[in-house]
Subunit: 249 residues, 2 copies
DNA sequence: TAAATCCATGCAAATATAGGCATGAAAATC
DNA sequence: GATTTTCATGCCTATATTTGCATGGATTTA
């Protein structure tokens, strides 16, 4: 039996059954396991099937799992979250916004830090529930499926009744001239309420968002007390923010 | 059976049912629990599912939480949730309690049913966020890490300002004489508030909980309008509940 | 807090793999 | 046509992987 012929048979079997065992093929074609292994290895490198331990499976067989949970720019967001943590003291009362950067902050929150934390983000609340010493309070309201945060009149009203030491907020876009801007009107309203309820507002933003703007404005850049990016505070990218009265971390 | 094949099967099961038990998979695939555990662990590290104590859950349907989720008596809870769905009509305004049975109800909610749903449970809210036609409103308040629901004075006050057509509640214990009882005092207070805010109250409970009681009382059995278990309504176990004015489903 | 359940770890047996080497057949070269 | 080269193949061995089981520790549930 020719090599080509054999490999074609293997491919057919894989297509037919979605999977094969090397031992089965070896027996069926009356060749050694080693030969089949070499064939399959070759077919794998030609991307005609996928070799696995003990056999091979059809390429089309693997069903893609629902969602790729990869967080965009996780490294940068991790650095930002680390920096933000340095602002926290035991007993602080803080607010944490939605978004992946803020979720990262929640995820990295130390287990032994006793603080009270308001949030309107479900993912943030979930992360914080793992921290025994964090008192988590969710701001009630209508839940936006897109952002997984509560929004709307009720959420804004609830926010109006609190006052926290620090709020850690994210933003869609930030520019030293245009300030913080968003794509979504409802989100802007909530962020405004958050800033109004905070003694100090800390902006967490990856450098990628610097010098960009969009339709709806959350606040002027002056409304921010501290700005945290993954960059070194002396980085040239931050020059335009230095005129303002902002602490850059 | 190939390892890859097995893992693919596990993934398919998780996608299909959103939750699986390690023991079920082990039995179905005729391999040891250890093997399934190793597979699930591997799939978890590949971010294809999330491993939880005793089983695994789909990624898409959970908030970003490492907290374990209970998969105990899932079959029964599934049946109960199915029955509960039959009570819903388009336009209904309902409340869904915390607990795995209620989460199951949220998970099974049809995508095309337009309803407004209040909840104080984070997992329930997360499940409902996947349903484009469900308007989700979270009752704000302090979050109990144990139950993953909001509790306390603020939550109770927020509940006092709403009135829903149906509330679907779970309970720790239920007995035809002692009524609904709980282990936890705070939970009882919230459930009381929920019942007060509902035109009709529907109890979801697996039969295992029937004829059991605990320290704190939520309400008399008469306060319940409809009771749903996984049993056939004519089952003898339900006899003691028949004297009361309860619709047994 | 106690009982039940689940999990991580190490171990051993079975199986799979990679790479070296020998053999024989086909192909290329002289 | 004889010799050399190339290649496919099978066999062997050391190594790696997979899997079930036992154990002690961790977690969950009541």
């Amino acid at each position: 039996m020719l090599k080509e012929e054999r490999q074609q048979t293997i491919l057919n079997e894989v297509e037919l059954h979605n999977r094969i065992l090397l031992t089965d093929i070896a027996e069926a074609l009356d060749v050694s396991i080693d030969t089949v292994r070499r064939d399959v290895k070759e077919l794998d490198s030609e991307n005609k099937l996928r070799k696995v331990h003990g056999g091979a499976i059809s390429l089309g067989f693997t069903v893609n799992s629902t969602r790729n949970q990869n967080v965009y720019r996780l490294e940068e967001k991790n650095i930002i979250a680390q920096k933000a943590l340095s602002l926290l003291k035991p007993g602080s009362v803080i607010f944490i916004d939605g978004g992946t950067t803020c979720s990262e902050l929640a995820r990295l929150m130390p287990h032994n830090l006793e603080i009270t934390c308001f949030t309107h983000s479900l993912p943030v609340a979930s992360e914080l529930l793992n921290k025994p010493n964090v008192n988590v309070i969710i701001v009630g309201g209508q839940v936006s499926s897109e952002s997984q945060t509560t929004i709307g009149a009720n959420a804004i009203h609830n926010l109006s009744e609190i006052r926290v030491d620090f709020s850690f907020i994210g933003t869609g876009y930030v520019d030293s001239f245009y300030g913080l801007t968003e794509f979504d009107w409802d989100i802007v309203q909530v962020k405004k309420a958050v800033i109004k309820s905070s003694k100090k507002t800390v902006l967490l933003s990856i450098s990628e968002k610097l010098n960009s703007q969009h339709r709806y404005k959350t606040c002027d850049i002056n409304a921010i007390n501290t700005m945290i990016t993954e960059l070194n505070p002396t980085d040239a990218l931050l020059n335009s923010f230095r005129n303002h009265d902002i602490h850059i971390l």
